[in-house]
Symmetry: C2
Subunit: 428 residues, 2 copies
């Protein structure tokens, strides 16, 4: 006998998780499609060189890498961005530019598992590649807004900033040379607090006054988006190409009637060097400590590893596991509804004919109907089955009569046909 | 620069494949849900011992197996059946019996790639575990029928047989000892033809007369399901538990009004030892040479490797790649429709406001609307973009007027609001 167990850091998805996960993914896919974004998929296994570049690097230890039976050095993808870059370099002529894609699938990292962190998890990425303009930046943001709205989340706020404005500011105080270290520190503000950030910045710049200036910049908050933007322009020496882009983006969000969901938050920097323009994070208003559930920004060049052609773009990633944890904490009906069927049918042994006919009719009407397949079982078992699966209605058939019972209210109705009993019920 | 290439036997899924694939999967999921089947997922990586049993076996060379960074012997799943057995042994108490699940996801095999065979492919499995009765057998078949109907396929036929009836027959001619070899040979009939099958059977049994009897049995076809069933009962020495089960199953299919899609075909044996009762394959009437697109049967004991508890069941697997190839050959509208949006909006530089508003309105109405994000581009490029993505309508905005053009008929209509132009159009 072999112990049935999964690997450390891996987990099964049981129906009570998998049903809401699929619902959420469908809603997101519907929104993405409504913006003309198309789905793609790529192999789980790739040449290690394709994923890591020549030589590899720090990521090495975190990836599942091995030699296949043909002796090839291969690895499982650790994100969806690198495969997308390879994909686009390879198929660009066929796909055409602008290219808007989404990709929702699993990735693998050999990190040490901790609470809420797994070695196998789902990423949900969407990007617009080709144009470098405010139209694209704002379209990604509008699509994010519609996505969160479609998930029925009440309060969420998109925190926007611009790398270029921050870089201009750092230049203006003579600190552009240390921008990478400063960016990484600023990125931690939300986690480590003002005092700790100030002390780290003093260490990096060797200048308490400068550290204070940086902290004032990233803490600027004049209430409204435009007032904060103007304040930041003032702090970084006036209007610039970067700040004009932010003005244009805000104008478009305003045209779309959704500007109130967006704030200018200069503490958002996104640690990675990769980003060059607009950057953003998304917070659920009721759960600030959850962290960002959708982050991303504009980059200069997606696929420089594989092609000489410049492919600028803007893209986001939704942290699906974190988002689901948040929705659960908020008591979202999406998470609560993992019922496997709307109606359970039970019949007595040998009376399956009318039960089958009723079941098929119920399915024709668009309801989900589960037939209990052990007609000889005691009703106690049937109730336990329905309860375990959160099925709200029980339809029984015996001696020519159908009885529909609402298992929540225990109300019963009887009729000679199943169709009659369907009249009153509406299930989502 | 790194050559952007995928591994041998692997492939990218471009939007023109991925869009129809997602549509097909959604339709199948909707049907499965309508029967109360629930989705599950399992890790891509498992302990090799869990997947192969102690020692492993012939499958060994075909699987992607390696030691992870923690020195564990791990492998990528090569089917969805073994992980399901492990899953059920592990979670049975929580899930409850009967358990009806579906699982649609990728599996990996290191086979030598050939035309239409890949090292990474999608399986679509569904099973009912727990009861061993005609109700369950016929429910799986009903669900298969509804699935193929939901995909809009005109002609398909389910070929049913029963392992037990064949075994009874083999006993009656004193050949039950060689049943494994005989089953494997019979399974090839469709591929190698009658003469070759007869000669192989003669070789196995060492008796031409017996080989002839076997061939008569597996070729029995009296026209109707029930007539063939009766003929087979006659050839295997009368009614038996197995033949009574087939009678009961047929009765239920008849109650459901779908019996005409089913034939009794004793040449169906399914090579594997695994099956113990009902077995079946599914053929598209217009494409008999495509092979079976949905196969399966009843088994005695799903998870004997991991638990002492007997878990009988019945289950099927749809070959999604083969099915998609068939649908394409049949000119199915599902495969043809890979358009990325219903309407493409183009505006002149600086006139994005009304375009954004129109786009959001169009999405609110349930249409998919792509905004062309390079307003400075020539119209020639816009048309190429729309054609490449099979977008049927173009909405332009300039100087206060919206123009909607049907790109197939070149008809144009103009109006002062986008809403007016939506009146006439219906897109699927």
């Amino acid at each position: 006998m072999i112990e049935p167990a999964v690997l450390k850091g891996f987990r099964d998805s049981l129906p009570k998780e998998e049903i809401p996960k699929k619902k959420i993914i469908r809603k997101l896919e519907d929104v993405f499609s409504s913006y003309g974004f198309v789905p793609i998929d790529t192999p789980v296994l790739e040449y290690t060189e394709v994923l890591l570049g020549k030589g590899g690097g720090e990521t090495d230890k975190q990836i599942f890498r091995f030699n296949d039976n043909g002796g090839r050095d291969v690895a499982m993808r650790f994100d969806l961005t690198v495969p997308f870059a390879r994909f686009l370099a390879q198929h660009q002529a066929e796909l055409g530019i602008p290219f808007k894609r989404y990709h929702i699938n699993k990735v693998w990292r050999g990190e040490n598992p901790q609470k809420g962190r797994y070695r196998e998890f789902i990423q949900c990425d969407f990007d617009i590649v080709g144009p470098d303009n405010a139209e694209s930046d704002s379209e990604i943001l509008m699509m994010m807004n519609r996505s969160f709205s479609a998930l029925g989340i009440d309060g969420y706020t998109f925190h926007l900033s611009h790398r270029g404005m921050f870089n201009t500011f750092l230049s203006s105080i003579g600190e552009s040379g240390r921008s990478v270290d400063i960016l990484r520190t600023v990125d931690k503000l939300r986690k480590i607090g003002r005092d700790e950030t100030l002390s780290l910045l003093s260490g990096i710049t060797g200048d308490e006054a400068k550290a204070g200036k940086i902290l004032s910049f990233i803490s600027a908050d004049e209430g409204s988006f435009m007032d904060t933007l103007e304040k930041l322009e003032e702090l970084s020496g006036g209007r610039s190409e970067a700040s004009e882009r932010m003005r244009a983006i805000y104008g478009m969000l305003d045209e779309a009637g959704i500007a109130s969901s967006f704030v200018f938050d200069p503490s958002i920097t996104r640690g990675l060097d990769y980003y060059t323009g607009l950057v953003y994070e998304t917070f659920l208003d009721a759960l600030p400590s959850l962290g960002s559930v959708c982050s991303g920004g504009r980059y200069n060049d997606l696929a420089s590893l594989y092609t000489k052609e410049k492919l600028p773009g803007v893209g986001s990633s939704i942290g699906l596991d974190r988002l689901m944890a948040g929705l659960e904490e908020l008591g979202s009906p999406l998470l609560a509804s993992s019922s496997s069927a709307d109606i359970l049918i039970v019949h007595r042994p040998g009376e399956e004919g009318p039960a089958i006919k009723a079941a098929e009719l119920i399915r024709d009407r668009g309801f989900r109907c589960d037939v209990y397949l052990m007609p000889e079982a005691k009703m106690k078992k049937v109730y336990a089955y329905a309860e375990n699966r959160a099925i709200p209605y029980l339809l029984t058939y015996a001696d020519g009569t159908y009885t529909l019972k609402d298992l929540r209210t225990r109300e019963e109705r009887k009729a000679g046909t199943a169709a009659e009993l369907l009249e009153g019920i509406a299930i989502g």
